[in-house]
Assembly symmetry: C2
Homo-oligomer: 255 residues x 2
């Protein structure tokens, strides 16, 4: 049975895209068939995997807005054999307002994904930094959630708002939705702040916090400028190690 | 004449809030009367200045949604004599959808601010990481824009989308809107990436890039956990120096 995982946090700069791109790539390298769906109008996951966010004639925007366009028609192969992407373009910034008066506006993506779901073992959804309709579509479609959290103060503050939203979605739109894990990111070893926030995360969320912490590593920030996931850009780096160990942890949950 | 400046960038984690809070504080310390308006449902600027985002009974949300509630009624004094805040609470996350069908939905904030504008020399608007109705209200209300840009690759990619949106707002809603400056933030001295992105910013935007660059400084990330701007938390830090020099640059534009 395919696993569908939303990578979400309304806090900006939590490393949602960095996690979506590099976790997808690491899982694909472990011989699972993976689809990443870019739901952010900034189209960072699309750019980070080497595609253009402006030259594409159709994207996830067109699939969400046009009832007759199947998701299958926009899925593309990436540079990694088992990794496919449903790309975003900047048209997606219009989707939030355009979907507001659509019947079943939170369910559109789930309906479209159901047609291709059995072609994949994993589907990862990269979300924008908000709790609007694109994120709600992701939370209604996903079975699992991974929450990247920068080990900084503002990031910690936003968690209760996110948890409240997840609870509402679970009650009204998607009963089986579970939190697979909370992922500490951009961890700056040796700073009091990062250690304090990491401790707070473990105190509040206990076992839900992944064993893996993603350390700050400039290679992770360089890789997207080459359109490559870290595993291809610098396989010896801390970033590649950390996302590889995250992938192992996620795979160990396979039923 | 009061200056109204929107601090905006749809890219998450660009240091919009860090800039709004610390630039406001630095300008207030130079004897200008300053109002900061928190337009982000995460209410980070509110928290960063020591207020609660949950205990307040009225906030900018109530002012935007209730035509009878004047902005004056929610403005509070901060720990700095000349600095006042119109705080946010998490109710603000409902405003985007609630405003969609309001007549003149992009103009609501401008109307409310006009009643108190002459009480201040500077008004700074902290925006959420999106180009939705809250940010559009800020761009329609402001006369000037400051764009914080992290010196990373994804941050650079998002600039053309932001510039397009600003151009549309200028044409349709706010003819006088100008870009006061592009602010390089979270600059990691000695990394190729930060230098490369800084060079690209200067190549594309020339004189629009501030002389001041905000260096990465852990003290800037620690200060919000004490509810203090950097100038009070650690006045000797690089962060305090950088935001002080930014304030001088912004004040030098005074007519
Ligand atoms: N572990 C890390 N070490 C160093 N840089 C990182 C790390 N993780 C992410 N980054 C960089 O930090 C910035 C923010 O990360 P990213 O864009 O992935 O976050 P996001 O949550 O997707 O942001 P948004 O809210 O805009 O969608 C990016 O420039 C990215 O390259
Ligand atoms: N110069 C800096 N040095 C170190 N940390 C910084 C710096 N500027 C900002 N930060 C930290 O980086 C994180 C992102 O900054 P901030 O929250 O101000 O960005 P933002 O653009 O307001 O984010 P959002 O898109 O969520 O509104 C915060 O944890 C902040 O404390
Ligand atoms: Mg992202
Ligand atoms: Mg902010």
């Amino acid at each position: 049975k395919p696993r569908v995982i939303a990578i979400t946090n309304q806090k900006g700069g939590a490393a949602k895209t960095t996690t979506s791109v590099n976790l997808s790539a690491a899982i694909a390298m472990k011989n699972r068939r993976v689809l990443i769906i870019d739901l952010d109008p900034q189209a960072n996951a699309t750019i980070g995997l080497g595609l253009s966010a402006t030259d594409l004639d159709s994207s996830i925007y067109h699939v969400l807005i046009n009832p007759d366009l199947p998701l299958r028609d926009i899925i593309r192969q990436t540079m990694i054999e088992n990794l496919f992407i449903a790309p975003a373009t900047i048209h997606l910034s219009g989707a939030e307002v355009e979907l507001v008066n659509t019947i079943g506006r939170e369910i559109v993506l789930r309906e479209k994904l159901s047609q291709v779901l059995n072609d994949f073992d994993y589907v990862l959804l990269d979300c924008p930094p908000s709790l609007g309709l694109l994120t709600l579509n992701a939370l209604t479609t996903a079975k699992e959630i991974i929450i990247p959290v920068q080990t900084h103060f503002y990031a910690l503050e936003g968690m209760s708002q996110l948890m409240n939203t997840i609870e509402l979605v679970r009650r009204r739109l998607n009963h089986k939705l579970i939190i697979t894990g909370i992922l500490p990111t951009i961890y700056q070893a040796g700073t009091k702040l990062s250690d304090k926030v990491l401790q707070e995360l473990k105190k509040f969320f206990g076992k839900q916090v992944f064993d893996t912490t993603i350390r700050m590593n400039i290679k992770l920030a360089e890789a997207p400028s080459h359109g490559l996931p870290i595993i291809l850009y610098d396989p010896e780096s801390n970033g590649a190690d950390d996302y590889n160990s995250l992938a192992s942890e996620v795979l160990s949950d396979e039923i």
